[in-house]
């Protein structure tokens, strides 16, 4: 079973927090923080497994993580999962994100947390691995996106127009663009395959 899936950036800002076991929200935040500190200490060229996730579940649990550019993807799993299998799964998840967002970068995750959740839901369900075939995952997500489009989406046409206007007029727009510097892009995912 997967106990939790956490995505945060190099500064520990959470980008996706998904627990499959109930924790009080304070504990959730604490887990995210402590996991971040554990993972941050580690160089990139050492192993991707961490023991002693004492906060979640104890000795049966391991933290398995991957570091992509500015983001850490951390899975907390128990001993029924294969360690290398989970590493592959993280890769599948990230590649799926890459396909769905077309060259995914941290900004995509920041502004579309809901979509990231929907993608994750097609990979892992209730702590168990649902699908590992990327084509199948992408096909299901695209079908759901089409369905959403046919319903007019969350913000229908008029609202979208307004938000476009809002975007043009507001003076803070240039500032936002600066945030996404080029390094954020996930570089050349294929090397991990």
């Amino acid at each position: 079973m997967i106990q939790a899936i956490l995505v945060f950036n190099n500064h520990g800002k959470p980008r996706l927090v998904r627990f499959y076991q109930r924790f009080v929200k304070e504990i959730q935040q604490q887990i995210v923080r402590e996991t971040f500190h554990l993972v941050l200490k580690r160089d990139d060229n050492i192993c991707n497994f961490l023991e002693g996730g004492s906060l979640i579940g104890g000795s049966d649990y391991k933290l398995i993580y991957r570091h992509y550019a500015t983001l850490y993807f951390v899975f907390c799993v128990d001993s029924s999962e294969s360690e290398l299998g989970i590493l592959d799964l993280i890769q599948v998840f990230v590649e799926t994100l890459d396909k769905c967002f077309e060259n995914v970068c941290e900004l995509d995750l920041i502004f579309h947390m809901d979509k990231v959740h929907y993608i994750l839901q097609e990979v892992v369900m209730g702590g168990m691995v649902l699908e590992t075939n990327m084509n199948e995952i992408v096909a299901q997500i695209e079908a759901q996106n089409r369905l959403e489009k046919s319903e007019g989406g969350l913000s229908a046409a008029p609202a979208r127009a307004v938000s476009a206007v809002k975007n043009i007029n507001l003076p803070e727009i240039p500032r936002n663009i600066n945030i996404g510097d080029l390094n954020i892009k996930v570089p050349n995912l294929s090397q991990f395959v």
């Binding site: 079973m1 959470p14 996706l16 927090v17 998904r18 109930r22 929200k25 959730q28 935040q29 160089d43 060229n45 050492i46 192993c47 991707n48 497994f49 961490l50 023991e51 029924s80 294969s82 360690e83 290398l84 299998g85 590493l87 592959d88 920041i110 502004f111 579309h112 947390m113 809901d114 959740h117 929907y118 839901q121 369900m125 209730g126 702590g127 168990m128 691995v129 649902l130 699908e131 075939n133 199948e136 299901q140 079908a143 759901q144 369905l147 959403e148 319903e151 989406g153 969350l154 913000s155 229908a156 008029p158 609202a159 307004v162 938000s163 809002k166 803070e172 500032r175 936002n176 945030i179």
Partner: protein, 865 residues
């Protein structure tokens, strides 16, 4: 009405959506909390509107805030509203928010049952999918009970997308509503052979999770899984199945035998490291289960170890880590085959990755033998010196001590070497494990009698050296060693070379900077030391010398009397008075030494840490029996105290005769014995080794150790443990030579006598004779102590409820409740009270199956329509 709608949509244009919220938060870095609370107010306004799109948007934003750690439980009802929207877009938002924030304590969750049921049977597969996904995160026992049947139906849905989700969620349903496991199991089993690989994988997944907790109930599925293993090409499924077999083999050794071959084939053929690794793991599990009663599978072990070596040698740190992890499993049963890779594991100690170093340390623990202990520890000591960062160094320190002290110092052939290792460890700065070293020193000195003389000389050197005393406050920890040193020097003072010198060292003014509990030990042991010096001096008839020592005590003790620590103060002032009294007697030329040393006569024996717990309850003592009659609950609170005394006085005389009644007592005792015999948790009394040990009276039976003087006892100054390593090598070499000589002689004899020995003489651990004939005193246990390893299972374990026999045929009463109308609820309720055992006993086997088939047919027909 139309106007209202237009107004609503204009308002909506200026609502923030998720992106606006995120952008806003990023632009308000300084006053983020204030900005967010403002946003939450806006969201509250939006939630009050009728427009479902506005609500959905608000809930979507709440989900984001939830991730940042804000409480959104107040919006639970609004989330349910959004969940029940007809559009998929909104529904999905609602279910996401619910899956992130709902839990068993959410009270409105019971309102969702019908909505979820509706969504589950929705014609759109994505509505169903989204409901299943959401439910998997917040399913409660009530929801599981009410929806189990609906979900079970979905397991045979036409769309594989729904089927696989339905199969997966069943695991959650089982956990929350264990009664559903038996009725749903046949269909789950069916899904193992589903044409769709995704559904198949989900079914394997669920059964593996179930079997992991209660493997014995799933042994009957082994042939099916075996078939899957040989046919499947999906690595995910294979890994799961192979892991499952790893859990099953300990229960069924025959399975293990069958598995070895296909697994070995997989190991040879697969290119996927993850699969290879799991195969090796399961082969190890099989070998462990077989090791008890089977001839050797040395080829398979060799293969595993060889593959693991490849993993460990790989440049990929992940593989290295896993290789070490699996190696430690082999170690437990086949230590010899791992020990040949000692070089590799020692190499891993140099790795830059701490996880890998720690794994390697774990392995070393199991790899030591009498032969290589010194060498391994020497290597570890060099690492201790190199290690940067105190956490890893402390880990090394504890491992060294663990390795040496494991199974009652089994592998230590030379305790002088061990003491010197401990002394060397005291030079570590900033360690937190001073108390650990101290405990070891005490343990060894007390239990290994032969070493006491050496230990005392080392400890007196420690007391003398300044490095431990210096800045003792900062070093919090390592000064604990002085506690042990002082005690050992005091208790075994007869072994001291220069007791006077040690006494002075212990009375130095700097000692008062030590923590209180250590000073207290100092004070107490100073007297022991003093007593033995007095004795020496009086025997040598040096009255002046004796008086000088007393004067030294009288001069120095006041510094402890002034101590802020109560215990130090109390002991010091007591002892000061004693010494002053002695001084008076000495002035009158009265011999005092005998009486003073009588204060500390007798020997302290080690007591096992569990001894207190194991004191058996004496016959006839019932700890659960009431001493007084229990007070009745009806009495009101404020009346109670008066009643207690009143009752007591009245009742005591009445009850005494009845309790003294011998017959009654005997009867009760019998009843209790009966109960104990039937109670699996009560350990019956049986003669334990400790007990036998206890039967031999006194300490006389402990053989006094003969010291083999091949190792010089006195090593000038603080000994380096390395010297011992060298000495040990020489000694072993000598022993070997001697043995060879003997062997040659024997061979010659054999030649003469023309006898043949079938067993080749091999050098094993047993051949190395220890440097000293060491008797390790066993720790004392109370009389009649009972051996016990009570390992009670956690009664709250949620998986225990799933320990259900799945092979028994299904009873009618076990069928999942199908809820159509309210009135079914009433008919169902009495059934719930029937305990599981009774349900199983009913066996209307065939009828029920037929019924099911009919049902299925009906469903199919419906679908066709």
């Amino acid at each position: 009405m139309a106007l209202k709608m237009v107004k609503g949509s204009i308002d909506r244009m200026f609502d923030k959506n998720l992106q606006d919220l995120v952008r806003g938060i990023r632009n308000h870095k300084e006053d983020e909390a204030k900005y967010i609370s403002q946003c939450i107010d806006e969201i509250k306004q939006e939630l009050k509107q009728d427009n479902i799109a506005v609500k959905a948007n608000a809930v979507c934003k709440l989900t984001y805030l939830q991730m940042l750690g804000y409480d959104i439980s107040w919006a639970a009802f609004n989330i349910i509203e959004v969940m029940s929207a007809s559009k998929f877009t909104f529904k999905r938002i609602g279910y996401l928010a619910a899956s992130q924030s709902f839990h068993e304590g959410t009270d409105v969750i019971m309102l969702t049952t019908n909505q979820i049921r509706k969504d589950l049977s929705s014609p759109s597969q994505y509505d169903t999918g989204v409901a299943l996904t959401g439910l998997s995160c917040f399913v409660t026992p009530d929801l599981a009970r009410d929806l189990a049947n609906d979900i079970m139906t979905l397991m045979s849905h036409t769309k594989p997308y729904i089927r696989k989700k339905a199969v997966l969620i069943m695991y959650k349903v089982f956990l929350k509503y264990p009664e559903s496991l038996r009725p749903a199991f046949p269909r789950l089993k069916e899904k193992l052979e589903d044409p769709d690989p995704g559904v198949q994988s989900a079914a394997v997944n669920v059964i593996c999770e179930l079997a992991r907790r209660n493997p014995k109930n799933y042994l009957s599925l082994a042939p099916l899984f075996f078939k899957l293993m040989t046919s499947s090409t999906n690595n995910w499924v294979l890994i799961k199945i192979i892991k499952l077999f790893g859990a099953l083999t300990p229960l069924e050794p025959r399975l293990g035998k069958k598995l070895i071959e296909p697994l070995t084939n997989l190991i040879h053929s697969t290119s996927a490291m993850s699969l290879l690794y799991e195969c090796v793991n399961t082969v190890i599990a099989v070998l462990i289960s077989l090791s008890s009663g089977m001839p050797n599978h040395s080829a398979s072990i060799q293969l595993c170890v060889q593959k693991l070596r490849i993993l460990i040698e790989d440049s990929d740190q992940n593989l290295k880590y896993l290789g070490l992890l699996a190696m430690s499993k082999i170690l437990k049963t086949h230590p010899k085959s791992v020990q040949s890779h000692k070089d590799l594991i020692l190499q891993c100690l140099d790795d830059k990755d701490e996880s890998i170093r720690l794994r390697a340390l774990d392995l070393l623990y199991g790899m030591v033998s009498k032969k290589n202990l010194m060498e391994i520890v020497k290597k570890l000591m060099t690492h201790v010196d190199k290690a940067e960062g105190t956490t890893y160094r402390d880990e090394l320190l504890t491992k060294i001590i663990d390795i040496c002290s494991q199974s009652n110092y089994q592998y230590i052939t030379n305790f002088e070497w061990y003491i010197s290792i401990l002394v060397e460890l005291t030079r570590l700065e900033g360690t937190r494990h001073g108390h650990l070293i101290a405990a070891q020193m005490l343990d060894v000195a007390i239990r290994v009698k032969a070493i006491r003389k050496f230990a005392v000389s080392q400890m007196s050197a420690l007391l003398d050296s300044a490095h431990l005393l210096a800045s003792s406050t900062q070093r919090n920890g390592i000064c604990e060693v002085l506690y042990a040193a002082a005690w050992i020097c005091g208790e075994f003072s007869e072994h001291l070379q220069e007791p006077h010198h040690t006494l002075e060292a212990m009375l130095r003014p700097r000692v008062t900077t030590l923590p209180g509990h250590i000073q207290a030990v100092y004070v107490q042991n100073v007297v022991k030391l003093y007593a033995s010096i007095l004795q020496q001096k009086e025997q040598a008839r040096e009255a002046e010398g004796a008086q000088a020592v007393t004067q030294l005590m009288v001069d120095r003790l006041p510094q402890f009397v002034q101590s802020a620590d109560l215990e130090v103060q109390e002991r010091a002032s007591c002892i000061l008075q004693l010494v002053k009294h002695i001084q008076k007697l000495q002035a009158k030329d009265v011999p005092v030494a005998e009486e003073v040393s009588a204060l500390f006569a007798g020997e302290l024996n080690p007591v096992a840490p569990k001894a207190q717990k194991k004191v058996p309850v004496p016959e006839g003592l019932d700890l659960d029996a009431w001493i007084n009659e229990p007070l009745s609950d009806s009495e009101s609170e404020d009346e109670r105290p008066r009643a207690v005394f009143h009752e007591e006085e009245q009742r005591r005389p009445k009850h005494r005769p009845s309790e003294a009644d011998e017959e009654e007592l005997a009867r009760r005792r019998e009843a209790r014995k009966q109960e104990q015999a039937n109670n699996p948790f009560y350990i019956k009394s049986s003669p334990s080794p400790q007990k036998r040990y206890q039967d031999t009276p006194g300490v006389e039976h402990i053989p006094v150790v003969q010291i083999d003087l091949s190792v010089p006892l006195k090593v000038p100054g603080l000994p380096m443990s390395d010297q011992y390593v060298k000495l040990e090598e020489e000694r072993r070499h000598r022993q070997k030579l001697e043995k060879d000589k003997r062997r040659k002689k024997r061979k010659e004899k054999e030649k003469k006598g023309k006898r043949r020995h079938s067993s080749l003489p091999t050098e094993s651990d047993e051949d190395i004779a220890p440097a000293q004939q060491v008797d390790i005193v066993t720790e004392e246990m109370p009389e009649n102590a009972l051996p016990s390893d009570e390992d009670d299972k956690d009664p709250n374990d949620p998986y225990r409820a799933l320990d259900i026999d799945l092979d028994k045929p299904l009873a009618d009463s076990e069928k999942l409740p199908i809820q159509k109308h309210r009135n079914t609820e009433t008919s169902k309720s009495p059934e719930k009270d029937v305990p599981m055992v009774e349900k199983k006993s009913k066996k209307p086997k065939k009828k029920k199956k037929k019924k099911k088939k009919k049902k299925k047919k009906k469903k199919k027909k419906k679908k066709k329509k």
